[in-house]
């Protein structure tokens, strides 16, 4: 039975281009208080464009209605559980939005004098210190714009350190359960990728690692807890093997929400890692960004961090550009500052004990879902779950229903789907991460929905294959979209 949602009407809406009428405007500019100029005379007629063909012309209210209507076609964390595994969809506190919009912070120009930027620099320094304490690392750069960008920064740091020791090495070892960004990043940093198999417990095959880790390998990119949501039990030994051959340990921090306040990567052998501030530290995902991919490192990597670095000069903050060994810059200016403000506000609201409680609640919620669904879905890996749990569609597939179909049916029950078909080491993965945000009531509704779908599959698998039935669009044809790409509007 569907308990969470009821059918509702949905506003139809066409593209803005299709609503345009010549001459309509939605803006006001101040009166020009200097003499107007003749653009063609100043710039040369060849440098001036003709009118922007097909560009929208709508009023302010039409604009507001358009985007408000579109917004109602989306699901959101503010509407309920958003159990995407590896994505950490937790509540985004609104006070964080308010403070990021304060004038002195939101309107700070990156080139304004340091003397007029002290508050911004203080925020960045405080956040760097908090993240170093949380991860057990020695220093943090806030420059990378997103998780994958942090990975690139981290691997470039590894490379720079190894190069300074005489040999950057050629390969990076990566478990087959890793996020796709890990191998893609290694390639961008000039490394070839060697995969490490997962064992029957979903953990790294440590014997294979010992066999292939040599002085030609720069190190290991590990995710812990890994993408099947289990803690790499032998992580300390793994680090010993890598370090014994002069390699470095990179950790993908996507799953840090399972660890904060409980254990610290810096204490189990990690040399460099990135954090996704938009996951663990609650900054809004915004439909796919902005994020922030802060990178935390051990002391020996510090000289190579992107410049500039913060330094203290006679009781004031300043930027230090004199960093001769730095890998350079990975983006202009200093990072996604607006995201950093929000992350610090989150850390301040929780404090040390609050962050630890959040971790424990996240693991409790995942474990509770696991217990609730275990009788109905196959659980290929049975080590205790951390912040997420990964089932397989094996049982349902025998009736012709796959993980993606179950996900689409979940939409009709009023929930966003879990992560489908990842990690690749689990056949037909159903990857569920509830986060600490969710109440028992919301989770029980979710468990009931998943059980109800399991029963529907046994009774009438064909019905499930047709889902979703409740949205303004039925199953979207992604194959045709890729075969004949239409990626922009054109006048009929």
């Amino acid at each position: 039975m569907i308990r969470k949602v009821t059918h509702n009407i949905s506003q139809n809406e066409s593209l803005l281009f299709e609503q345009s009428s010549p001459g309509k405007v939605g803006y006001q500019l101040p009166d020009l208080d200097v003499p107007s100029v003749d653009a063609a005379a100043i710039l040369g007629a060849a440098n001036v464009r003709s009118e922007i063909e097909g560009f929208p012309e709508v009023s302010e209210v039409e604009n507001v209605r358009h985007y408000t209507r579109l917004s109602t076609w989306n699901y959101a964390i503010d509407l309920g559980l958003y159990p995407l595994g590896s994505c950490t969809m937790k509540y985004n506190p609104r006070v964080n939005e308010l403070v990021a919009r304060l004038e002195g912070l939101a309107w700070a120009h990156p080139y304004q004098p340091e003397s007029l930027s002290q508050g911004a620099l203080e925020v960045m320094s405080t956040l760097e210190n908090a993240l170093a304490e949380i991860t057990g690392m020695d220093a943090v750069t806030l420059q990378p714009a997103a998780g994958a960008h942090g990975e690139l920064t981290g691997v470039l740091l590894m490379r720079a350190l190894l190069e300074s020791r005489g040999n950057p090495r050629k390969r990076l070892l990566i478990p087959d359960s890793a996020h796709g960004t890990n191998p893609a990043t290694a390639a961008m940093a000039g490394y070839s990728v060697e995969n490490i198999r997962s064992n029957s417990r979903g953990m790294m095959d440590i014997e294979q690692l010992a066999r292939i880790m040599d002085e030609d390998a720069a190190g290991l990119m590990v995710t812990n807890p890994n993408t099947v949501g289990v803690f790499e039990q032998e992580i300390v030994k793994v680090a010993e093997i890598v370090h014994a051959k002069g390699g470095l340990m990179y950790m993908d921090g996507a799953n840090m929400n399972a660890l904060v306040g409980i254990t610290r990567p810096g204490d189990f052998g990690i040399d460099v890692m990135h954090l996704n501030l938009h996951k663990t530290f609650s900054t809004p995902h915004g439909g796919g960004g902005p994020g922030s991919g802060a990178v935390a490192i051990k002391k020996e990597l510090e000289p190579f961090l992107p410049y500039p670095r913060l330094k203290r000069i006679s009781d004031a903050w300043a930027w230090d550009f004199d960093r001769p060994q730095s890998i350079g810059k990975v983006r202009a200016f200093y990072g996604n500052f607006g995201v950093l403000v929000r992350a610090l506000a989150y850390i301040m609201a929780h404090g040390g004990p609050g962050l630890r409680n959040a971790t424990m609640d996240a693991v409790l919620n995942a474990t509770y879902i696991r217990k609730g669904l275990e009788p109905y879905y196959d659980l290929p890996l049975t080590d205790p779950s951390m912040h997420e749990v990964v089932f397989s569609h094996d049982r349902q597939e025998k009736l012709g229903v796959k993980t993606m179909d179950i996900a689409k049916r979940l939409i009709d029950y009023g929930f966003h789907p879990y992560t489908t078909a990842f990690p690749m080491i689990v056949h037909g993965a159903i990857m569920i991460e509830p986060t600490e945000t969710e109440s028992k009531q919301e989770i029980d509704l979710f468990i009931d929905a998943m059980i109800s779908i399991a029963k529907e599959i046994e009774d009438d698998p064909k019905f499930v294959l047709g889902a979703p039935y409740s949205q303004r669009v039925a199953r979207v044809d992604e194959t045709t979209a890729a075969r004949k790409p239409i990626v922009r509007w054109k006048p009929a």
Binding site: K24, G26, L29, V34, A46, N47, R49, I52, P56, V64, Y67, T68, L70, S71, N74, Y75, A76, D78, L84, C87, L102, L105, H109, P110, Q112, L116, V123, E133, A145, A146, A148, L152, A184, I235, H285, G286, G287, G289, P290, K329, V330, R331, A332, F333, Y334, A349, P353, L355, I411, H416, K440, P468, V473, A474, R475, A481, P485, V487, R488, W489
Partner: protein, 423 residues
């Protein structure tokens, strides 16, 4: 819940972790604070930054008016608190808005295809260069010295370990434009991309067509960069370029000490499969109704892993939405009027000042002023942030500053700056 999980305490959930990795002490962070205390803290930090100043800084980050409606829309929880639209049926709002963003970027730049956004303008440059390397099968890149200095630095960071040599090509010290003869000499038969910016870092408008001819003659692609998106409302679109990349910050994205912003990459139809990042496409649902979804994901890291076009995963959806709302509010007429106001303000400011360069400029330009730091110091006492001293980026311009005037600059403040620089 603990009972259902078979543990007697929350700590029991972690009993399987190796004892040696457990943190045996509380995190050394302050206790949690109330909402009031948090607001108080950040208000104090905000007050330690420039508030109530007029600013004449540009150089890649511009102060433009942000219509109120922009925050109204991006504060909608359904946009703010949703994820990347993997599940199309539950994310048609985000998908259609991105489709509009892609379409408007194409209309503005004269390109056929634009992606769903990049991290920012600076990181879009190496992505464009890598794209050109894939398309041409060549490995070298030539970048104009008039491209934003930080963008060039970012390109070098990315290029270093990819076997992608980067050469810089200088500018004409009289005009402030790219030296086309030097550019011609810098390109060889292994040059994949020629990267130029217009308006360039000095605010000067480049001859995009001539640069494209030089690049194309030798089989290289032309990558056109912009940092000031407001110029697109007035300047001829860089149709001659093969790839356009740039920064949308000017479109209702607050300066926010340098980020988050939204970059773009746009290109010709034939290069669509080499574009990095997310793309939204139009399709139909099972009942034949128009619908949108992420598409061509076989280019991307989650499918191709180490063979992907880039490691980029996220885009800047919410920031791109700010730009989308801005573009559609200003519309066809407003973007032009806004650009004309900027042109007028900057030329009123420049009138009578000792300009360093002679070529036409948009809303920023270089002036000789002896000691730029001294000029700025004097202006600060009048609550005006002056221009960017150029010495650290261009040692040969240490007597000059880059001044920018937008529609946000009032005539009285402009007059003060004119006085200070002319002195």
């Amino acid at each position: 819940m603990l009972d259902a999980c078979g543990v007697s305490s929350l700590e029991g959930l972690f009993a399987h972790l190796p004892q040696e990795v457990m943190l045996q002490r509380p995190l050394q962070l302050a206790d949690g604070k109330s909402e009031y205390d948090i607001i108080d803290y950040f208000k104090a930090r905000s007050a330690e930054c420039a508030t109530g100043y007029a600013s004449f800084l540009g150089a890649g980050v511009y102060s433009h008016y942000r219509p109120v409606v922009v925050d109204t829309i991006v504060s909608r929880a359904e946009f703010l608190t949703s994820y990347t639209p993997y599940q199309a049926e539950m994310a048609q709002g985000t998908l259609m808005a991105i489709f509009e963003f892609q379409s408007m970027v194409c209309q503005l730049t004269g390109m056929d295809v634009a992606n769903a956004s990049m991290y920012d303008g600076s990181s879009a440059v190496p992505e464009a260069a890598m794209m050109a390397v894939r398309i041409t099968g060549r490995d070298r890149v030539v970048i104009a010295r008039t491209v934003h200095p930080e963008y060039r630095t970012v390109l070098r960071t990315y290029a270093k370990h990819q076997g992608m040599p980067v050469a810089e090509s200088g500018y004409d010290s009289g005009t402030g434009m790219l030296d086309l003869a030097a550019l011609d000499a810098a390109i060889d038969d292994q040059t994949a991309a020629v990267i130029i910016q217009s308006p360039n870092f000095f605010g000067t408008i480049e001859d995009v067509k001539a640069a494209a001819e030089i690049a194309h003659k030798k089989g290289a692609l032309l990558v056109h960069v912009f940092t000031e998106a407001v110029s697109l409302g007035l300047l001829a679109p860089p149709k001659e370029a093969d790839i356009v990349c740039g920064e949308m910050q000017s479109y209702a994205i607050s300066p926010s000490y340098g980020g988050p912003f939204a970059g773009i990459i746009a290109t010709k139809e034939k290069h669509i499969r080499q574009i990095p990042g997310r793309l939204v496409g139009e399709t139909k649902d099972a009942n034949g109704k128009r619908a949108y979804c992420l598409t061509l994901s076989t280019r991307e890291q989650h499918i191709r892993r180490e063979k992907a076009t880039s490691n980029i995963c996220t885009n800047q959806a919410l920031i791109a939405l700010m730009a989308t709302v801005f573009m559609s509010l200003y519309g066809k007429q407003g973007l032009r009027e806004l650009a004309e106001q900027n042109l007028a303000k900057a030329h009123y400011l420049a009138d009578g000042l000792p300009l360093k360069f002679s070529a036409p400029f948009f809303n920023e330009f270089v002036v000789k002023c002896g000691d730029p730091e001294a000029v700025n110091k004097g202006l600060l006492s009048k609550k005006i942030i002056g221009g960017l001293p150029l010495g650290s980026f261009y040692p040969e311009l240490s007597d000059s500053m880059l001044l920018c005037a937008t529609e946000m600059c009032k005539r009285a403040d402009i007059d003060e700056v004119k006085k200070a620089v002319a002195r």
